[in-house]
Amino acid sequence: MAKFTRKLWVGIGVATVASASMAQGIGAQDVDHDEMEHKAHGAPLPPALNGGANLNSGEGGEAYLTDGGPTDTRVRFYRDIELTRGHLLVGQQLIDLELWDEALPHFLHPTEELYGLMEKYIKLHNMRPFGRELKALAQTVKAKRKGAYERALKPVEQRIDAALGTAKTFMRPEQRFVVQSAIEVLRSAQSEYAESMENGVFVKPVEYQDSRGFVWRAERVIEEAAAGPPLLDADSLAKVRAAFGKLKAAWPAPLPPPKPALDVGEMSALISQIELHTSSMTR
């Protein structure tokens, strides 16, 4: 089941990225930036931008790690920041329900996996690190201490904001990156959602929760971009919002419902709609 949906995910990735005009726009800028980065490390240049085609078939890690994904480091970084925020968000929702043990994986995942992916970029651009801050936050969750947790969250949020702020100075025009990254986050959500099920029932609540956090973040990111200079006509925005409304119905609560409200195919169709109707923002 999970394998099947992952393939489907890749298929959509290739189709949409290849067809979207933004691919070219970002690709052109991307070369300079990536070249700079790779020169600095003496590593070979990455394969040319070709959507989700640079597949690694490695084991382990969250689904999106093995599914290829964006070759533009800026999009990848933005996506990973949002995935981190998604974990923290759903972790917070679980803590609000006093479900500390359920929340813990969402604080460990960013420290164990995502941060490692971002670290190179963080160092390269002299951003203030936040790996240890994330670990300190996870400790407060282990200790189940609300006060300590709330205090430890602040420096993490501050440094994430600052890092993204720096990263955004390389993203021009910004909206394109915002939207493309949000779509990547939605794809990761879909992957995790697919992972969480076996034979039509939820078997992995952590993955279900991951996908919830990711979708909530993607929506926030797009809403924030839409709140800026009007790049989206009212009609498209209404359609995006409607699609998010339907999409979010898949996660009625932080704990999985007895039966999935959406299947993966329906989910992917909704994500494609969001991508279609935000495409004007990427021009």
Binding site: T140, A143, Y149, A152
Partner: protein, 437 residues
């Protein structure tokens, strides 16, 4: 000392790059003198009557986590000094059995073994003595050590553990509870970090930014005048201008000159011990630097060891914080496993000198151990730039010089032969042993 002084003087005059080049031409390691001040000690001091043993330490660790020490069995030492949170509670002010907020912020216990006085205001003079306070504080554990001893003595496994830890006197008593807890706490030595590797000679253990941060710490920032030693504290008390009304050390020793002064905390493992300060008022290291830059409340008691005005550029601020962060472990800190931590060494004063005048200079008594003939008086002269004090707290003599300004001296007459321990109430790492024949 010589090399460090030269370095600091240079740092005031020349841009950083020049120093680097000059220093490299002159000596292999421009930081050698400074590094010496931060070398790890190689032994943990303990009082002669409470030598650590593995059994005692194990018992202390168990007691530390046991809620039976509190009145209603809800609070252990570890409830506030949580080992998962680097022996803090992550709160601005913690709460004990009553749920009422405590008067001060819970400190981490790193390197407490090296602190001559305990608590923010130094009201306990040994870890053994300190144990009474939290157990008996109505809002912390709300019990007594007597009650706790009676409760523990009913538990057979505890009786066995006390027998193993105190074979000479295995009774479960306030004395043995305190002895075991103190022995355990002495093992809470902060583990070596990248900074220690750098001090030990691994030049690339720190990034250039972190080294620049250390330079600021030792030079322009003047942090080193109080945060010095491997544990980054001189164990003295200073008013650094935090605005709350707590009189701290001044209230404790009845000396207005020490009002608002609190013990210099260790700077080890800060990444894991926020928030900061005796009142828990500063949430991040950025906030701490902002406080030092703004200078805090300018009142007469504000320490003259603080820079009058500290102005840092954005880059300097980044460097200084980057340096401070090298004093923390990369993963949740565990007490050091260096072999010397479990061993220890009983504390002994330096050999005595025959002298009737002692000066207070650079926050030390010089000499630190004197021998007087019967009926000789001792004069203590403040040769320093700071306000000092002489305190003797002894059954034979209770003496308090009050505030002693630079150039002022006090003369002390001792009522009978014996050994007297004197210290400065403001800078209690200043110790003076007086033997009277």
């Amino acid at each position: 000392m010589g090399a460090a002084a030269v370095f600091v003087a240079l740092a005031g005059l020349k841009p950083a790059a020049t120093i680097d080049r000059q220093a490299r031409a002159q000596s292999p390691d421009p930081f050698a003198g400074l590094k010496e001040k931060f070398t790890r000690p190689g032994f943990v001091p303990y009082p002669a009557d409470n030598a650590p043993t593995p059994e005692k330490i194990a018992l202390g660790r168990r007691l530390f986590a046991d809620k039976a020490l509190s009145s209603v069995g809800t609070i252990a030492c570890a409830s506030c000094h949580d080992p998962r949170l680097a022996f803090t509670d992550g709160e601005v002010r913690g709460k004990g059995v009553t749920g009422r907020s405590l008067a001060r912020h819970t400190p981490s216990l790193w390197n407490a073994a090296f602190s001559p006085l305990l608590f923010w205001d130094g009201r306990a003079s040994s870890l053994e003595e300190q144990v009474h306070f939290p157990v008996e504080h109505p809002d912390e554990m709300g019990s007594t050590l007597e009650t706790a001893a009676q409760r523990l003595a009913r538990d057979e496994s505890y009786r066995g553990a006390f027998l193993a830890a105190f074979p000479e006197d295995p009774e479960v008593s306030p004395h043995s509870i305190a002895g075991a807890l103190a022995a355990y706490e002495r093992t809470l030595v902060s583990p070596p970090t990248r900074f220690d590797a750098w001090v030990a000679g691994k030049a690339d253990a720190l990034t250039p930014s972190e080294v620049r941060g250390f330079r600021l710490f030792a030079g322009k920032g003047r942090c080193i005048s109080c945060h010095v030693g491997f544990d980054f504290t001189d164990h003295n008390f200073y008013d650094i201008g935090l605005p709350d009304g707590d009189r701290g050390r001044g209230k404790e020793i009845g000396l207005p000159a020490a009002d608002h002064a609190f013990k210099t905390p260790t700077l080890r493992e800060l990444a894991w011990t926020a928030p900061y300060m005796h009142d828990g008022s500063l949430a991040t290291l950025d906030d701490v630097l902002r406080h030092y830059e703004e200078g805090g409340l300018d009142r007469p008691t504000r320490s003259r060891d603080l820079p009058a005005k500290l102005r840092l550029t954005d880059d300097e601020r980044t460097d200084l914080v980057a340096f401070l962060e090298t004093l923390s472990s990369d993963t949740p800190p565990q007490p050091s496993t260096e072999p010397w931590v479990a061993g220890g060494r009983p504390v002994s004063p330096p050999p005595p000198q025959d002298a009737t005048v002692v000066s207070q200079i650079n926050k030390t008594f010089n000499p630190g151990h004197v021998r007087l003939k019967a009926a000789q008086a001792l004069t203590v002269l403040n040769d320093d730039t700071r306000t000092h004090n002489v305190r003797i707290f002894d059954a034979k003599l209770n003496f308090n010089s009050g505030a002693q300004e630079p150039r002022e001296s006090v003369t002390i007459r001792f009522p009978q032969p014996g050994t007297y321990e004197a210290f400065c109430g403001i800078h209690p790492s200043m110790r003076l042993t007086v033997e009277v024949k």
